[in-house]
Symmetry: C2
Subunit: 410 residues, 2 copies
């Protein structure tokens, strides 16, 4: 299922040898139409990977026929040559699918700074396009399937009936399992897949995500729905405060259901899909032992609520304490105090898992009752400065996180 | 030596039982004059500990007779009662020294959220004032020394000839050794002590610091020198990005040398003292295995250079990589990209320990030559956007840091 849950989409995930593990590492999502509307949201990091620069450009048309994704290399900080590699990848996909390169978005994920193994990647594209050709309504939409890959370079060309699952596996890096979603509506569907296990931070989380829908919707409607959804979901997960060079979230509409949802209906379905995937990302963050929901209430504005929640989520000392099952609310206060949000230090309340540990900025005598040993932990802060609220999802800072990230490239 | 290096100062450090270890935990620094000019710089955290609120207030006069400091409790997030505890501590010191409570600054460090054991603390004050009475030029300046402590509550009243060293030990928390400094000038001296081993972050680092000088200087001159010095030293160490509720840096002048340095001379000596102590703090940061100097050159402004350096210093992923001896320059670029500083991603150069690993935003073929195994590591970034420069000092993110901070209060 996943990106193939919606009618009109084909997908594949193959092993092209980009990952030293031999696992699947090239994914393809093809929109068979009849529509080809699309929207995208990208990292706000000013150091953008070549595929981000490329895909931002092609998305300006509001149309996409396909998305090609690879793990095993981020193609970031690779200069003009890296951009040419991205361009060549899109060209190769376009040639196989019989569309233009400007109809193909490219996403990459993996280590920053290395060029991609282009012969392996292009052979992977051949295998993936061959696999998706079978999903096309008519053979005419996949004219070059017959020219596809040699087994030598694409070692896992066999795909099961669900190319969507293969695709979700092919974009994994340190993820321990694939992340997919299907939101069923009244006759139309939003499906999707995502990867992202470390470096989860705002605007966006570090991640690749492709969403598909068979609803009838134009690019503007998709863009509206996608921006609204990411701002309250992916933008509010913050595992380790680090922002990626490659974040990309794409939404493609085939219109194959023939159903035209209203904008609010579309918004709601896309947000549901994003929220589900965001939760899966935090649930599988690198080395995490806890999933922490930080909810701010009583804020003067939603933005201030997000600012306060994010400051708490990024406090290394608190995140170590939570790993150690230590409900050290003093560090919550210290983190709030670094923000410019409206609050009076003598009126702040803090709860862990529903047990009030701090009242009016000081220790609640009942604080000892707080049990933060479960994996799912809620930290609730009432600023008593208004009626706005927001939740940011994060993880604890663990020995496993440090271990995993101290040995990532080497 | 330390705070007693300058003429006219007495100091003591005693064990009052605030620390469960039984180590020294109450320090006193007394200015015997003839001058009593003073200046202070405090945390910018909006959640301020009671002693910070108190000391900010008393410093408005530009005068201090004494500073009393305790470890074993931060007295932060303790409400009006905690403030009364601070006030009572100052009153007690004043009574023993024969000055006013408003002439006494108070500093506390330790766990946030707990009230101090006041009987123990006040007995410690008695022991400390008794010890410093011997350092006074005439007995008249320490009128109540004879009334001092019972051995029962202040278990380590014996002080060696150097009360400065005892004081430096008494303010330690997770520090592994005391930090002191003496800057000798032409007939006058700046001495000092500091503590701070975790939660080192900007404006200020988490720390307590008392500097003393026997120079003749008024409060304005001290304030000017102290603000200039902290802005380029303590404000530029950032071990873990967390900001404390208790940061305090004080500078007291006795005038006992009879020498009046010029403002630039005073500035230079105070900056030297602060820089030396700042280096010691980073050298002893919690769990760190590396001391990392991040130097930005070619910045459009000094402020942008600091912003970029700080963003790099706070990147958990990079700091894990450095712990793992992995010169992953891609994470440096990703961190730079999160700032709004002036730079072109295709013109940034990065070096580790003098070996260029990234040229024009891409990998330098010679990058493999970089060796980051030594404890002292320099990360140099040239933004090629101007001629301004700044250095921020930080530490790697280690298993020991997580271990230490996951078991701090419990």
């Amino acid at each position: 299922m996943s990106v193939t849950s919606a009618q009109g989409f084909g997908a594949a995930g193959v092993a092209a040898g980009l990952k030293t593990s031999g696992d699947r590492d090239v994914a393809l999502v093809v929109n068979h139409g009849p529509l080809d509307a699309a929207a995208g949201v990208f990292t706000t990091n000013r150091v953008k990977a070549a595929p981000v620069l490329w895909s931002e450009q092609v998305l300006k048309s509001g149309r996409l026929t396909a998305v090609v994704l690879n793990s095993g290399g981020a193609n970031a900080c690779t200069g003009p040559e890296g951009f040419q590699d991205t361009h060549a990848t899109a060209e190769h996909v376009a040639e196989r699918l019989g569309c233009g390169a400007a109809d193909v978005a490219v996403c990459s994920t993996g280590v920053i700074g290395d060029r991609l193994n282009m012969p392996a990647l292009l052979a992977g594209v051949d295998a993936a396009t061959a696999a998706t050709a079978a999903t096309a309504p008519t053979a005419a939409t996949a004219p070059t399937a017959a020219t596809a890959p040699t087994a030598a370079t694409a070692t896992t060309t066999e795909t099961n009936s669900d190319g969507g699952d293969d695709a979700a596996r092919a974009i994994m890096t340190t993820d321990t399992h694939p992340k997919t979603v299907t939101i069923s509506n009244d006759g139309w569907v939003v499906g999707g897949m995502a990867k992202g296990a470390g470096m989860l931070a705002p605007a966006l989380a570090t991640m690749l995500c492709v969403l598909t829908t068979d609803a009838v919707a134009d690019a503007d409607a998709l863009d509206t729905a996608l921006r609204a959804a990411t701002s309250t979901t992916f933008d509010r997960i913050d595992s380790d405060g680090c922002m990626s060079t490659n974040d990309t979230v794409l939404l493609l509409a085939s219109g194959a259901s023939g159903i035209s949802p209203t904008q609010p209906e579309l918004n709601q379905a896309v947000e549901k899909a994003c929220a589900d995937l965001a939760r899966q990302l935090i649930g599988d963050a690198e080395g995490a032992s806890k999933e922490v929901a930080i909810t701010i209430t009583g804020a003067a504005s939603e933005q201030e609520a997000v600012t306060v929640a994010r400051s708490i989520s990024r406090n290394n000392l608190l995140m170590c304490a939570l790993f150690g099952n230590d409900p050290y609310w003093g560090r919550v206060l210290a983190a709030i105090g670094t923000t410019d949000a409206t609050f009076d230090p003598d009126r702040v309340d803090v709860s862990f898992n529903g047990v009030k540990v701090c009242v009016n900025g000081t220790r609640n005598p009942d604080a000892e009752a707080a049990d933060i040993t479960p994996r799912h932990l809620s930290v609730e802060v009432d600023l008593h400065a208004g009626d706005k609220t927001a939740t940011v999802h994060t993880n604890d800072l663990t020995l496993a996180y440090v271990h995993e990230n101290s040995a990532y490239t080497s």
